[in-house]
Symmetry: C2
Subunit: 236 residues, 2 copies
């Protein structure tokens, strides 16, 4: 099993039984998500920006406008902390103290730097689209040179990462189980809704087969995981 | 209208028509959420940690174990960036370039510091529980002195904040509307599931009235907003 080697930076200190460092645990949480929160420093001030991302092996990618302050700063080679979190439920215990949250999260560390070769950029943009939306590249018009130029892409090799999660019912103090207090979990998940066609949609254009995983009522994490597996599988 | 005054730190530079600085816009996004991503610096390294939070006026609160490295560092008075993000949908355009995300997010800046008076801490812990879970303090057993001691609470006055959001259909280049390409929005929301009673739940204890807002199928952001309004309203 391939693992990340924790140092003081990534080692899970609190409730360390919840910490995992193997690639499978880290990648599963990353591949189930679409939005990361990325922390970085400009002039001594910490910032954290939500952004869409994709993964290839141990390397993470994100992108945006070339006018973005975040990307312009990160392009120069900046240490970042890259966190993905899934909220899975509210854990209702018999004391306020033992209330908790069911979640899965990854904290990954590395140095961001720019991807500036246009061919490499284009290949990764296509991978990003396909990773989220299978078949989509065949439906949309191709990127223009101008669009590529206006897009800054940043990537980061994961130097260290840890995965944390909590699952299951509350853990109460022994004597509290006798209380007349409801306890349990109220689950939460990101759920896909029914697609809303663009008001300007050309007549006769149907919802594409490749996007049918995004069925109304589906869990977004499950759809994204399936799409990521599909992409990785098709390259083997 | 009360507004936050943006400086270079919080002013929305990209697509600045999406940026808002008034309290109503900032508070609406904060009150609809439960998990923030908080960025901070330890020894020159940026970190971003997901954590539950609550708000009172312009002040944000979060808490955790007194053994937490994040909280021990922040307790000393540390500049932080506090970000809350709601993912609302995937925006499918007719070109890869115009694909986008519907979202609401707030980025707030301030200096974190410890809340160390036990009476103040206790009052805020109670407020936190009631804000998320109305009536819950009447059901659970009271906190012990030991539990209070084991809990570190941190708060931050919002010095600056900006809200950003995107809503609605894709915006494509004029000539692309003629393409035979499906376009529109695939909505995403955090949805509440049916409560799962603790396997050790005492016989005869029913699901409490105060939590009935968390109905299976409800939007978490709507429930949290209603609970926050209820708390604020009951204090007026």
């Amino acid at each position: 099993m391939n693992s990340f080697t924790p140092t003081d930076r990534s080692r899970v200190k609190r409730l360390h039984e919840r910490g995992e460092y193997d690639e499978a645990a880290v990648f599963a949480i990353l591949d189930a998500g679409m939005i990361a929160h990325i922390a970085y420093i400009i002039d001594g001030q910490p910032y954290v920006t939500p952004t869409a991302y994709w993964r290839e092996g141990r390397r993470l990618y994100w992108h945006g406008s070339s006018a973005s302050r975040m990307l312009r700063s990160q392009a120069k080679g900046l240490p970042v902390c890259f966190t993905v979190t899934h909220l899975d439920g509210m854990v209702m215990a018999r004391s306020g103290f033992h209330h908790s949250i069911n979640y899965r999260s990854v904290m990954a560390f590395g140095t961001a730097s720019i991807v500036d070769d246009p061919a490499v950029k284009l290949r990764h943009l296509d991978r990003f689209v396909e990773r989220l939306f299978p078949g989509r590249n065949g439906d949309v018009r191709a990127s223009t040179a101008q669009e590529l130029k206006g897009t800054t892409m940043v990537s980061m090799e994961i130097d260290e990462a840890s995965a944390k999660h909590r699952v299951g019912p509350p853990k109460d103090d022994d004597e509290d189980y006798a209380l007349d207090c409801w306890a349990g979990v109220i689950p939460v998940a990101q759920i896909v809704g029914a697609p809303i066609g663009d008001p300007k949609l050309k007549a006769g254009v149907g919802f594409p087969d490749g996007l049918k995983g995004f069925a109304a009522g589906a869990r977004l994490d499950a759809v994204l995981t399936a799409h990521a597996k599909r992409q990785t599988g098709s390259e083997k």
